[in-house]
Amino acid sequence: MKREVFAQRRGVFFVIAWLVALFAVGCGKGEGGGGAPKASGGGGGERANIRIAVVTHGQASDTFWSVVKNGVDRAAKDMGVTVTYNAPQTFDMVAMSRLIDAEVAKKPDGLVVSVPDPRALAKSLEAARSAGIPLITINSGGDAGKEMGALIHVGQAEYDAGKGGGERMAKAGAKSAICVNHEIGNASQDERCRGFTDAMEKAGGKARVLAVNATDLTDAQGKIGAALTEDVDAVFTLGPLGSRAALGALKAAGKLGKIQLGTFDLSPDVLAAVRDGQMAFAIDQQQYLQGYLPIVMLTQYKLYGVMPAGGALPTGPAFVTKDNAAAVIGWTKEGLR
């Protein structure tokens, strides 16, 4: 009986310890947020009260989105404003819409969202509009954002970027290509593959879409390997997760450098492959700016009511090839490109 009571006391102690730890972490965060504006100098007090919420669909494990988040964090520090960044743990529009709902309920001074599935997010964005929260869309969903009253879209035109990739590959002699889609359900990714396929077909070649699971690299690599039949002479991936799997698959099949490989978006291993000639090109949409610029713009909008005109601010596509890969590598190591 005595031992039982002791065990119980320990349980309660444990619970209290957890609570204390949670509060401590929470308070530490609060102080950090308050401390940032002091570093930014004059006008800090006014700016520290500006709260901007960012909600994206980027999976936490994707190197692409960690660069966007670095842009967001850097801008928050530079501007001296308070920014929260949220993304669902997997590509999940329902979860994402609920993150937006929660942020809207917090009534921030500005909202930054990526819109991969406009219909699924329509109701949540509508709620943001009716609450009068200034909205900027980034990365995907520019057209839909305009309908939802977004002030500006910061990103690249996906169909055209995919088409650009297809034209480049066809020009280099590709006849039969695979477009590897690692984010099924994302309309922007569908657009990229569509643009790519159209460009290939226009040049007299053909292309097919291969769906893979981005969170399981082994599985994705196996699927790509299985799709590398005799006639395939080009592989086009839609991001670092897909290209890493494709590089692995090509290496395993002994076809590295023999099959044209192109990808969207940069990562250290993509750039090394481009530098070493294992990969023909990488399409850079400079996503650091997609994180950085909206924070700057919303801060200025809140302070002085100014916003760039034109409705869209393209951050890409830019092509990274063997010529300029070495220069870009340094920045990717810092998570800035």
Binding site: V15, K29, N86, V94, A105, D117, A120
Partner: protein
């Protein structure tokens, strides 16, 4: 005295205490950021309601000693079925929903039939269905449409009525909350006040004796599998109607969340004991913690750490309250 004793005997008490503790924590820590507002409350109630609708039949199934891991991909398959029927065949939305319900019942029957016939662990059987359904949904959708998401269902016939019933609002509260309360009440009544309820406890607690005293074990289990699938279909319908479309990945991971809600609510992983009201509280706790973290402004890099820590904390509090109550009764 006996009424008080009965109250202390309830298995939901621990998780209910955890719900109150979580609410107080977020009210104190994130109350000024909108957690306490009606809009904030509505966002976590909505998550809780969808999870709760899954958790009620899942708790019954777990009490009967089985798992259903396939409900996540059943959601994706049902959502896509509705979308395809409306978008490609031009059916009214109700036709699509009916087709999806038939599919769900068939999946549930298949799961139950295989589990009871082969005596294989349901964990493995339904894991198989999980993969088959997930892959099948992607395959069929890409085969028919070449895309992975379908939208534009608001043009389907009868959509207005469906929207009121599945995605409408009572004040700031979404319709799914009303469904949740109704389904929880129904499942709790079945478990505690009907012969079927006794059978469920018997099948999970002492399967051999249950069989000997003539309880139709296979029928009970198959019906429960069909109910979990049907609940998945209902939640898929909510999401399809609310988001006017479907994509092939909806519902991923919901099977584990539903099991978690049931376990938080005091249902044993080994079967034979559990509570429907507890599962409802478990779902409420999960929804509250999930959204509360966002209101608290925790950096998303650490989101899962906090989610895990809060849930662990809830389980500890739950079991400590239960031990205390058990002692008080003595």
């Amino acid at each position: 005295m006996s009424a008080a004793k009965k109250f202390l005997d309830r298995p939901e008490l621990g998780v209910a205490a955890a719900v109150v503790a979580a609410w107080l924590f977020f009210a104190f820590y994130a109350g000024d950021s909108g957690f306490l507002s009606s809009r904030g409350t509505a966002t976590y109630l909505e998550i809780a309601s969808e999870l709760g609708i899954l958790a009620a039949p899942v708790a019954l199934l777990m009490i009967a000693g089985e798992f259903d891991l396939s409900i996540g991909s059943t959601m994706a398959a049902c959502g896509m079925t509705i979308a395809l029927c409306c978008d490609k065949l031009g059916w009214p939305i109700w036709g699509g929903i009916a087709a999806a319900a038939v599919l769900a019942l068939a999946v549930g029957f298949f799961n139950g039939f295989v589990v009871t016939k082969t005596r294989l662990p349901s964990f493995i059987v339904t894991l198989g269905s999980l993969f088959i359904l997930a892959g099948g949904t992607i395959g069929m959708t890409r085969l028919i449409t070449g895309r992975t998401q379908i939208g534009g269902l608001e043009e389907a016939g009868g959509f207005g009525a469906a929207e009121t019933i599945f995605a409408g609002h009572v004040g700031p509260i979404s319709a799914s909350v009303v469904w949740w309360i109704g389904i929880t009440a129904l499942a709790a009544w079945v478990l505690l006040h009907t012969r079927s309820g006794n059978w469920i406890f018997g099948v999970g607690g002492a399967p051999d004796s249950a069989r000997r005293v003539g309880i139709p074990v296979a029928r009970v289990k198959i019906s429960l599998f069909m109910m979990t699938s049907l609940a998945a279909c209902l939640v898929a319908t909510f999401q399809v109607v609310k988001f006017t479309g479907a994509d092939v990945l909806r519902g991923t991971g919901k099977e584990l969340e539903a099991i978690l809600a049931a376990v938080l609510g005091g249902t044993l992983l080994t079967g034979g004991r559990g509570s429907v009201l507890g599962a409802a509280c478990g779902a409420l706790l999960f929804g509250m913690v999930q959204q509360g973290i966002v209101f608290a402004g925790v950096d998303s890099d650490w989101y899962k750490v906090f989610l895990g820590a809060m849930l662990l904390l809830a389980v500890l509090l739950n079991s400590s309250v239960q031990t205390r109550m058990a002692e008080a009764r003595r």
